[in-house]
Amino acid sequence: MFREFVVRSRLLAISFVSLFLCTLSLVLFVLSIADLVLIAVWVGIPLLIKEIAVTRWLSGVHRKYAGGLLGEPIDVPYLRIPEGGMLVRARAILADPAYRRDVRWLLADGTAGLALACLGVAEGLLDMLFWWLPPGHAVHAHARLSRALLSPSEKSRLALRVEQLTESRAETVDTQAAELRRIERDLHDGAQARLVALGMSLAMAEEQLASDPEGARALLTEARTASSDALAELRSLIRGIHPPVLADRGLVGAVQALALASPIPVTVTADVPDRLPAPAESAGYFAVAEGLTNVIKHAQATSVRISLAHDGTALRAEVIDDGIGGADPDRGTGLRGIMRRLSAFDGALTVESPPGGPTKLVMVLPCVSSSPKTSPSSGTA
């Protein structure tokens, strides 16, 4: 009885709030039409920007309530408003397909919505008296109206997608260019310089061979050391580009090798196809490696679990540690690097890391497998 009372008073309260919000919608609709006229005399531009901020807040409130009531969140359709002058921002707002939809929604919410809110109040009051009647018809109808008008249109969805893709492509291109620069620098300062030194030692040894055999021998030893050093540098560079064990054994073998080299004990469980497409293998490997490096550097963990799974459409990798937690993707360059790697594949990283731990990284990387699934394997390093 008491529960029923709470539910019904909540519905009534929502109707009262709606009454107020729908009136606000109507006011905003009138303002937005006035804005369009005032833009001709410039005053409309700052007004438009202010008015849009309020509209988006208001539609956000409706999305949240309607989504909650209907048990299914409503996506936000807006494109990012760029930095810059008012004119730039106003133009971006007007070009966003979501703007027209919002204006239409303001009108609908200010009229039909307002009517539903009035009905809602009336129904809510009646429901308080007639216990046996099922409550909340008007409130639900209003929520459905909001959903129909506020969820992103196909056009908005595509525009959002284009925005996302443009962003991730730019990031991928930037990262790639930076990577190439780093490799060039490493080769230039490292292996290449050592090969020059090696050639010089050999040339000098050749010259001294007859006159000073002992000196020549020392130079040859130097040359041998220089070639060893050059090889060591090339090895570490190659590991950073594409680890040979990844080429040999695929993702699972490479992650197992990674686990073996870790200073913290790592358990690896894997249930993925033998081989995945090479780009996915590489991105998956480096994402996991970055995650593990993060754990080693910051988490103060005593053990790590890595699990790899593939459901036919996407690779899912988890890195779970028992450390101190508090990992924040907005601050850590490591986690941002993982996001960048995954975003090129439409993948995603989620971080659960409450202060005090434990930390759980979940990386999802969409990719189809190129070989049949092998039997699950697991092991402790």
Partner: protein, 214 residues
């Protein structure tokens, strides 16, 4: 001593043949791909095989797979695996049959001819020769709740040098201690790892294996 050699780069293959023959090894067959290697190992039954990890046709870990398969047929067939890079994972797989006669070295170790030849002989005699880089990777790992946690730092150091294939005398020379001190360390290592009295060589292999599996 009869050697089978597998190396796909002609330049390196010729260099290795020259180097081995100059040191009284007889290269009975030199091959340049995985399938030929598998066949040569079984038909030739060499005293030791020197094998490059990456071979045609797949250019992945063909050589490694070939020697592991061959050792399943000919237990303890001595193999020295050479590679441009070393992975602890591969070292473990090579030693997994616990029968010794296994070497795993970076290709650059060939530059030091005396040490390389020593390693080939060590492996042929049933010992192990792990690359110092494999050992170094192990030393960076933190000792936790593991069988090796009970070893003292000095004992771990001795075990690392054993993994590289050094005799007690060589370990002693390296650590500037007497051979007697080293054999005391090795006995401690064996008893801490629960390795029963047996032929010393085999215990060394098992200790190294415990080390790699830690």
């Amino acid at each position: 001593m009869r050697v089978v050699l597998a190396e796909d780069l002609a330049l390196l293959r010729d260099g290795l043949i020259r180097l081995l023959e100059a040191n009284d090894f007889e290269v009975v067959e030199a091959v340049d791909n995985g399938p030929s290697l598998s066949r040569a190992l079984i038909t030739q039954r060499p005293d030791v095989a020197v094998v490059d990890v990456r071979l045609p046709p797949t250019f992945t870990d063909e050589g490694l797979r070939a020697v592991i398969e061959a050792r399943a047929v000919v237990p303890g067939l001595p193999v020295l695996v050479l590679s441009q890079y070393v992975e602890q994972l591969y070292a473990r797989e090579l030693l997994a049959d616990r029968s010794g006669g296994v070497g795993y070295l970076l290709k650059d170790r060939v530059f030091n001819v005396a040490q390389f030849v020593d390693a080939v002989r060590q492996v042929a005699a049933g010992g192990t020769a792990m690359d110092p880089e494999v050992v170094a990777q192990l030393l960076t790992r933190r000792a936790g709740d593991r069988p090796l946690a009970s070893l003292t730092p000095r004992e771990r150091e001795v075990l690392g040098l054993m993994a590289e294939g050094r005799s007690n005398a060589a370990v002693a020379a390296r650590l500037f201690v007497t051979e007697k001190a080293v054999s005391k360390h090795t006995n401690n290592i064996f008893s801490k790892l629960g390795l029963p009295q047996s032929e010393d060589d085999n215990r060394r292999v098992l200790a190294v294996l415990a080390y790699l599996n830690d």
